[in-house]
């Protein structure tokens, strides 16, 4: 019930705004903000009520929806979706506050889109029914379409269409996959009852994976992202980078890995190679971008490459790191977009060459920008490091793929410093241009927008345990699902044992036990 | 009643049809006379009083004149429709009466014969269906005349009739709910002998709405915009003369009579009056009940004439406003209130009071809203339109 409240409260806000939009701009904004904050506060109840000792779904609600087709309203969260839900509810009020003065036309529509988007995103993270998942997945496209298409920049139509078409292409494949699963699962869309092995699992895996890879976006499906980001309004970018991209990685961890472990194992080399290419490629291309938003967009490609890498390491450290990195990326890239938006509002330009020496004029901005930049680079003590470190460690130590991949991925860490610092230098340092000499520093509202994000950036960096401990058991379940299946696969394929190096005590036993079971079951 | 032998059935039906049809024709003539006389009385003048006693034969004289006048068909008209139109007006008016029970029943030669031509179980729907056809004659006649005034009159008339038909239909829903029948005889019988049981008290707002809509359906003052002399010469029948015109004319009066009869049946207790209809045994009770019915109808017809000389003609927008903004809400409210209260209390008294109160409230609200909605200035040219859309379309 709590979960449903969280999911649908924003929708209530949409209705409220629709009904009360005659009250004027400030009323609309206040309602939206109130709803956003309220949703976040309620969603904190999910955190406090979350039982970290088990990794199963909690706060589950299941109600028949279209029983004739085996569709139910089935929602719940585990340690993985918990964080994404919280990230969503956390970022939305921030976005509302950030958009306080920047929307000139159609304010009520903007706020309604934003809130509707929140419902869609929350639904995606909570849905335990494939059909419901798909409904939310698609429904969230619509408000995003509006956000970019109406309140976007000059080439917004091109960007929107590209964004929607890319996503739709992916979702079409996913829909096929969902239907195939439906028929293999006794005509039920219920995720919790799904259990493999499925026939044609490799095709199904690809169907799901491509949909998610487009959303992530994984190289070479990423070209919609820079366009969408550049044309989207600030808030749109924040949501896009902060939450929407996570839906791809979330989909991988929720569907691709546990449902098709064998196929996942089979495709791991390819996918990981793409991820690593994405990491380096994104970083290199980000380096030479003249546009701040594009730069951040390409940096997202790079960062999300890390996440995918961690996911396909298929071990607890890597996956936990990936989940944490999803949150981190949401925070730091979201913050970057907010900051870019803030100077855009002042200067109406996002071109790096138009800036320089801003730190003299805007010291508070500079400090915040610095911290966020460093978080994005992955400086220890800030959040980015913890996630990246765990991903790389997990992939390296007992990853399911060669160490060469990890070595190249680590090069991405160097490149991150290159492009971020270069950008920072060009924007913040140097001589102050005349045109920028009068830019005001951040006002109280903007500082309030940024402070919570900074808090979490530091918190996760210094003391990530609360975050890790809640997701630990759920990640373990995913890993077990992956391992169980692929262990059997390994057994059949007689893979030489040295590919499974570095299994530590307990896990090693577990592994053996699984193999034994597999043998006896034969 | 049901088990009449076939021959008796046929025979009695023929008799009834002849009786009622003639009664109707005679009634029309009587009405024509009465109207002119009453008009005269109301306007403090004499009216026709030369032909026969007090001019009572005046309608016959008029009829003869119409019959013998040349049957003129203008060149520019669409001939088939031009000829057909008067009939299409007259026939619906004529056949409506078939389902109206004009008395209880009469026992002749041991056979109990109900005083009703056709006793069908969806009588009220029949009436609505036939009533809705009346507009065809008007519209087609207007169009066939190929005359601007006629066409405008026809359009006005059709718009008006469609609008008020809605009210007409909705107003009786309450009655139907309480009676649980579409059967006219059942409705009449359900009301019982005493006026305080009659539907017009229980459904007072609906009754008023129904009556008003009935006025509109007959195209009579104050709803005679389709033939408003000052604006449209004579409206849809401008091009008609002689017997064809007479048919239009008769149809209007028949509408009045039938409408009154239906009103009496639905709302005014039909042939009931303090149990008078039951005295006098099987034969006479039938006659008396018919008499009661006849008198009630006549009184109601007098109201028609009375209203005609009391109220001025509506402006077109007023007409539409009145229909859509007053009558419709009132009837809809009446339905809701009736249904709700009937289900909850099952008491006719409560339903009656509730209806009255609700009707009053609705009227007040709507009136308030209309007053607030900036009263229109005195009639201007732009107000003299069919409907805003219609005229735009024609331009």
């Amino acid at each position: 019930m709590l979960l449903s409240t969280v999911i649908f409260l924003p929708l209530l806000g949409v209705i409220a705004i629709a009904l009360l939009r005659g009250l004027g701009a400030s009323a609309i904004k206040s309602i939206a903000l109130a709803i956003g904050v309220l949703t976040f506060v309620i969603s904190l109840g999910l955190y406090t009520g979350f039982d970290a000792t088990t990794g199963t779904f909690q706060n589950v609600t299941q109600q028949a929806w279209i029983p004739g087709l085996g569709i139910s309203y089935h929602i719940g969260i585990d340690g993985i979706s918990l964080w994404l839900v919280l990230l969503t509810t956390f970022l939305t009020p921030i976005c509302i506050l950030a958009a306080w003065n920047s929307v000139e036309k159609g304010l009520s529509g903007f706020m309604m889109s934003l809130l509707a988007l929140e419902t869609g995103m929350l639904g995606v993270f909570c849905a335990l029914d494939l059909f419901l998942f798909f409904v939310f997945w698609e429904s969230m496209l619509i408000p995003m379409y509006f956000l970019i298409g109406i309140w976007g920049g000059e080439r917004r139509i091109y960007a929107t269409v590209k964004f929607v078409l890319y996503t739709m292409a992916g979702s079409a494949l996913m829909l096929v996959g969902i239907l195939a699963l439906y028929f293999q699962n006794n005509n039920s869309f219920d995720l919790t009852t799904l259990s493999g092995p499925f026939s044609h699992s490799d095709l199904l895996f690809l169907g799901f994976f491509i949909a998610f890879a487009i959303k992530v976006p994984l190289f070479p499906f990423h070209t919609w992202l820079p366009d969408a980001h550049v044309e989207a309004p600030t808030v749109g970018s924040v949501i896009l980078a902060g939450v929407l991209l996570k839906m791809g990685t979330y989909g991988i961890i929720r569907f691709c890995l546990p449902l098709f472990p064998e196929a996942a194992a089979q495709f791991t080399p390819l996918i990981v190679t793409l991820a690593v290419i994405g990491i380096i490629y994104g970083a290199l291309v980000a380096m030479v971008q003249p546009d701040l938003k594009k730069l951040v967009a390409y940096s997202s490609v790079s960062h999300l490459g890390f996440v995918v890498l961690g996911l396909f390491s298929r071990n607890p450290a890597g996956i936990q790191g990936s989940v944490l990195q999803m949150i981190n990326h949401g925070l730091s890239t979201g913050a970057l977009f907010l900051l870019v938006g803030m100077i855009y509002e002042r200067r109406h330009s996002r071109m790096i060459v138009d800036f320089g020496g801003l730190s003299k004029r805007m010291p508070i901005f500079a400090v915040i920008f610095m911290i966020v930049t460093l978080s994005s680079i992955g400086l220890p003590g800030l959040n980015g490091f913890v996630g990246e470190y765990m991903i790389l460690l997990g992939s390296f130590v007992e990853g399911a793929f060669s160490k060469i991949h990890v070595i190249f991925a680590t090069v991405g860490v160097i490149l991150a410093a290159v492009y971020m610092l270069w950008m920072f230098q060009r924007v913040m340092f140097g001589t102050l241009d005349k045109t920028n000499a009068e830019l005001p520093d951040l006002n109280a509202r903007e500082i309030v927008v940024m402070l919570p994000i900074l808090l979490f950036i530091v918190w996760i960096g210094v003391y990530p345990k609360p975050f890790l401990s809640k997701m630990e058991k759920s990640v373990e379940i995913v890993v077990t699902q992956v391992k169980t299946q692929s262990a059997i696969g390994h057994l059949e394929k007689r893979v030489p044992p040295n590919t499974q190096f570095a299994l530590h005590g307990k896990q090693h036993e577990q592994h053996e036990k699984i193999e034994k079971e597999a043998e006896t079951s034969k | 009643m049901e088990n009449l032998p076939f021959s008796v059935l046929i025979l009695s039906s023929i008799v009834k049809i002849l009786f009622i049809a003639h009664l109707l024709i005679i009634g029309v003539m009587a009405m024509i006379w009465a109207e002119r006389r009453v008009s005269g009385w109301m306007q403090d003048r004499l009216g026709p009083n030369r032909v026969g006693f007090q001019g009572i034969l005046q309608p016959i004289a008029d009829g003869i004149k119409f019959l013998f006048k040349e049957d003129l068909i203008p060149d520019h008209v669409d001939k088939p429709l031009y000829v057909l139109a008067p009939a299409m007006v007259l026939i619906p008016a004529l056949v409506t009466i078939a389902v109206v029970p004009f008395g209880s029943s009469i026992t002749v030669l041991g056979h109990e014969i109900s005083l009703q031509v056709a006793d069908i179980n969806i009588g009220i729907l029949y009436i609505l269906a036939i009533t809705s056809l009346g507009v065809y004659g008007v519209v087609l006649g207007a169009w066939a005349s190929n005359n601007k005034y006629s066409l405008l009159g026809g359009l006005r008339s059709s718009a008006q009739m469609i609008s008020y038909e809605l009210t007409l239909g909705l107003a009786i829903i309450g009655v139907l709910m309480l009676t649980s029948s579409l059967h006219l005889r059942a409705i009449a019988e359900a009301q019982g002998a005493y006026p305080w049981h009659w539907n017009f008290l229980i459904h007072f707002p609906a009754f008023l709405a129904f009556t008003t809509a009935m006025f509109a359906e007959t195209n009579r003052l104050p709803f005679d915009l389709a033939e408003a002399e000052q604006e449209l010469v004579a409206g849809y029948h401008t091009e008609y003369s002689s017997m064809k015109f007479a048919m239009f004319f008769m149809a209007e009066y028949m509408h009045m009579i039938v409408g009154s009869a239906v009103t009496v049946t639905l709302f005014l207790g039909g042939w009931h009056f303090f149990g008078l209809e039951n005295i006098g045994g099987p034969v006479w009770s039938g006659v008396i009940s018919f008499g009661i019915f006849f008198v009630k109808t006549a009184i109601f017809l007098f109201v028609f004439i009375w209203v005609r000389w009391t109220l001025p003609r509506f402006r077109y927008d007023q007409l539409m406003n009145f229909g859509w903004k007053f009558l419709l809400p009132v009837t809809l409210t009446s339905i809701v209130v009736t249904g709700t209260l009937w289900i909850i209390t099952g008491s006719r008294l409560v339903v009656g009071i509730g209806n009255a109160v609700a009707g009053f409230i609705v009227v007040s609200i709507v009136a308030g809203l209309l007053v607030m909605d900036a009263p229109k200035p005195a009639m201007q040219d732009s107000d003299n339109r069919l409907t805003p859309t219609a005229l735009d379309a024609i331009e």
């Binding site: 140097g430 630990e472 570095a502 | -």
Partner: protein
């Protein structure tokens, strides 16, 4: 020693940072206060360090405790934990001691700068990060500090951010360091893969017991140590990643003294000394030693032809760091660390005196425009002379002891290394005294308007100089008397394993040789520069090559930086991204458009045509099902 002590030690600079950083706005009007807050914070750390040091005296057991769990999971646990042993306390004393003096010095040096509080905030943050680096009881903690000091270095080099060269230098420092960190990270991963932990003690114990996963077969530890060394190369500015350090002189001079001479750059040495066990087992010390000695020589040659005081000192630092690596590489860990300590003092001293000169000369750094400063700035001159003598290996001054120990150990490892080291020692003495003679002696070449302001620095600056001069001169004698049997060796004995190569030969003989070489260098410099003006330098090709630092920066730029930049821009972005991928996407779109364009001719716009086809369809379907289905 208790956890509380360590926490206070660690937190004090952080508190200083927070006060200066967050409330800097309100401290602006009162810059002295801000400076003293920073200094006191470090002083507290210094006091704590001394307490910690004292408690280790007389065979106290090393302190090793966990503060809290940081990144933990089922199969891994990384904690915030501290280890304080002899090596740590030595580092602590150097960091907090030199750090404190430099803080005090900065109060005067930075006087009137717009970013005064920011400066102290950064400096305190640096001390905090450096303390984490040396206090950590595992590699991850070390890495945290490692990155932290890198950040502070970046911030402080680019402290005057409106100067493009400064921010460029800061960026370069950070990125080059990152390349090193890349190695460090991978080294850490390898270690974790092998040992399942990153705790020093656990790793060393397991390594000694040969009880670990052979991730890369028998060469596991070799790979791990070499990767770690890559980190050290980056941080400690060795070949080929030394290029950032000379540029780093763009920062304020005290920063150069603290970070780029005394502490941060020695982190690599500390790391190898800390991992001595691993290097011993893996036998990778030789690589370290060779890189070290080559760097030492290479940097020294560059220093010969520079005219910028701070750059000379920078290359000298690189060179001396090479010595330290040479030391730890040949297994003389204690000697390497000892050189680290002495170098911290005398090089810190020299940088500060250079700062003093700059202060007086209105930020002039080119020594060709100086000369004869001795008269105007006696204290500066004398203290600098002490430092220069120390580095030149003048007998019984501190550099003499530490350098000699290293060279002595090198002989045991490889005579070739020894010889190169010896040549480097000669070069060191030569370029240092070239600096002294050109700057402080001879006739003044100072420009007149600067000359009128020429003055000795205020006490807040020269007092630290004087204080620093004392240990620079004497610390070698105090701690290093007795060569390999000195107090320092005994104190750090518990930390380091036995070296492979026993130093052989007569210690005294080596000392004599070193002294002679050092004195020869001084003499040679005196001959060449006591009279001559440096503008009449030779202009042959070799000199040009050296003066231009072997064109290394240019080569890097041409071979690495530009290709990456242009490749990213033109190949990756313009061609691959916009051309190929978007081309495919748009191509698919246009194909569909063409198909649609063809098909749309079917759309006649006439409703009935559509309906006819619809009805035709119905008829055919029905026919099929009724008659053929």
């Amino acid at each position: 020693m208790s956890l509380e002590l360590i926490v206070v030690l660690l937190i004090a600079p952080l508190v200083g940072f927070l006060i200066n950083g967050l409330f800097g706005k309100w401290l602006k009007g009162n810059e002295k206060l801000s400076g003293w807050i920073g200094s006191v914070a470090v002083l507290i750390s210094l006091i704590c360090s001394i307490i910690a040091f004292a408690s280790l005296q007389g065979g106290g057991t090393p302190f090793d405790e966990t503060l809290y769990e940081w990144i933990t999971g089922e199969s891994f646990a990384f904690n915030i934990g501290f280890r304080v042993d002899a090596l740590t306390t030595v580092m602590l004393l150097v960091i907090t001691g030199v750090g404190f003096l430099i803080h005090v010095y900065s109060i005067g040096y930075m006087h009137g700068d717009a970013g005064y509080t920011r400066y102290f905030a950064y400096l305190n943050l640096f001390v905090f990060a450096m303390l984490i680096l040396v206090l950590g009881n595992n590699y991850l903690m070390m890495f945290v500090g490692w990155e932290g000091v890198g950040l502070c270095s970046y911030l402080l080099i680019g402290f005057w951010y409106d100067k493009k060269s400064a921010t460029d230098a800061g960026k370069k420092a950070f990125i080059v360091n990152r390349i090193g960190d890349f190695g460090f990270l991978l080294g850490m991963f390898t270690l974790f893969a092998a040992f399942g932990t990153l705790d020093f003690v656990a790793i060393f114990d397991a390594a000694e017991a040969d009880n670990f996963q052979k991730v890369f077969g028998t060469s596991t530890l070799v790979i791990a140590t070499l990767l770690l060394f890559v980190g050290a190369i980056g941080k400690s500015a060795q070949i080929p990643l030394y290029v950032w350090l000379p540029d780093a002189m763009e920062g304020p001079t005290p920063v150069s003294a603290l970070i780029h001479a005394a502490t941060m750059v020695t982190a690599g040495v500390y790391m190898i000394a800390r991992s001595a066990v691993l290097y011993n087992i893996a036998h990778t010390g030789e690589v370290v030693a060779w890189i070290g000695v080559l760097t030492a020589f290479f940097a020294a040659t560059i220093a010969l032809a520079q005219n910028d005081i701070k750059r000379i000192l920078a290359y000298s630092t690189v060179s001396q760091l090479g010595y330290m690596f040479l030391g730890v590489g040949v297994g003389a860990y204690a000697s390497g660390v000892f050189h680290l300590v002495t170098h911290a003092f005398f090089k810190g001293l020299m940088f500060l005196t250079a700062g003093s000169v700059m202060h007086a000369m209105a930020n002039e750094l080119d020594m060709r425009k100086m000369g004869g400063l001795k008269a105007k700035m006696p204290i500066t001159h004398w203290t600098f002379l002490v430092g220069a003598l120390a580095i030149a290996g003048f007998p019984f001054l501190s550099g003499f002891w530490s350098k000699d120990e290293i060279l002595h150990s090198a002989w045991g490892s490889s005579p070739l290394i020894y010889i190169i080291g010896l040549i480097t020692a000669f070069l060191t003495a030569f370029y240092m005294f070239r600096l002294i003679f050109v700057t402080f002696y001879g006739e003044s070449r100072v420009e007149p308007d600067v000359a009128s302001h020429l003055h000795e620095s205020p006490p807040v600056m020269w007092v630290p100089l004087a204080i620093l001069a004392i240990p620079s001169a004497l610390i070698g004698l105090l701690l290093g008397w007795g060569g390999h049997d000195s107090w320092f060796h005994h104190f750090t004995k518990s930390v380091f394993p036995e070296a492979h190569h026993e130093a052989s030969g007569n210690v005294v003989l080596f000392m004599v040789i070193s002294s002679i070489v050092g004195l020869a260098g001084i003499a040679f410099a005196w001959m060449r520069y006591s009279k001559r003006v440096p503008s009449t330098e030779p202009t042959n090709a070799l000199y040009k090559l050296i003066a231009n630092k072997y064109y290394i920066d240019e080569i890097y730029n041409a071979l690495i930086v530009q290709p990456i930049k242009n490749g990213s821009h033109y190949l990756l972005w313009r061609i691959v991204d916009n051309g190929v991928i978007d081309g495919i996407v748009n191509g698919v779109a246009s194909v569909i458009q063409i198909i649609g364009g063809t098909l749309r001719r079917l759309q006649t716009g006439i409703v009935q045509a559509y309906i006819v086809s619809m009805v035709l369809g119905i008829v055919l379907f029905l026919a099929y099902y009724l008659f053929f289905g």
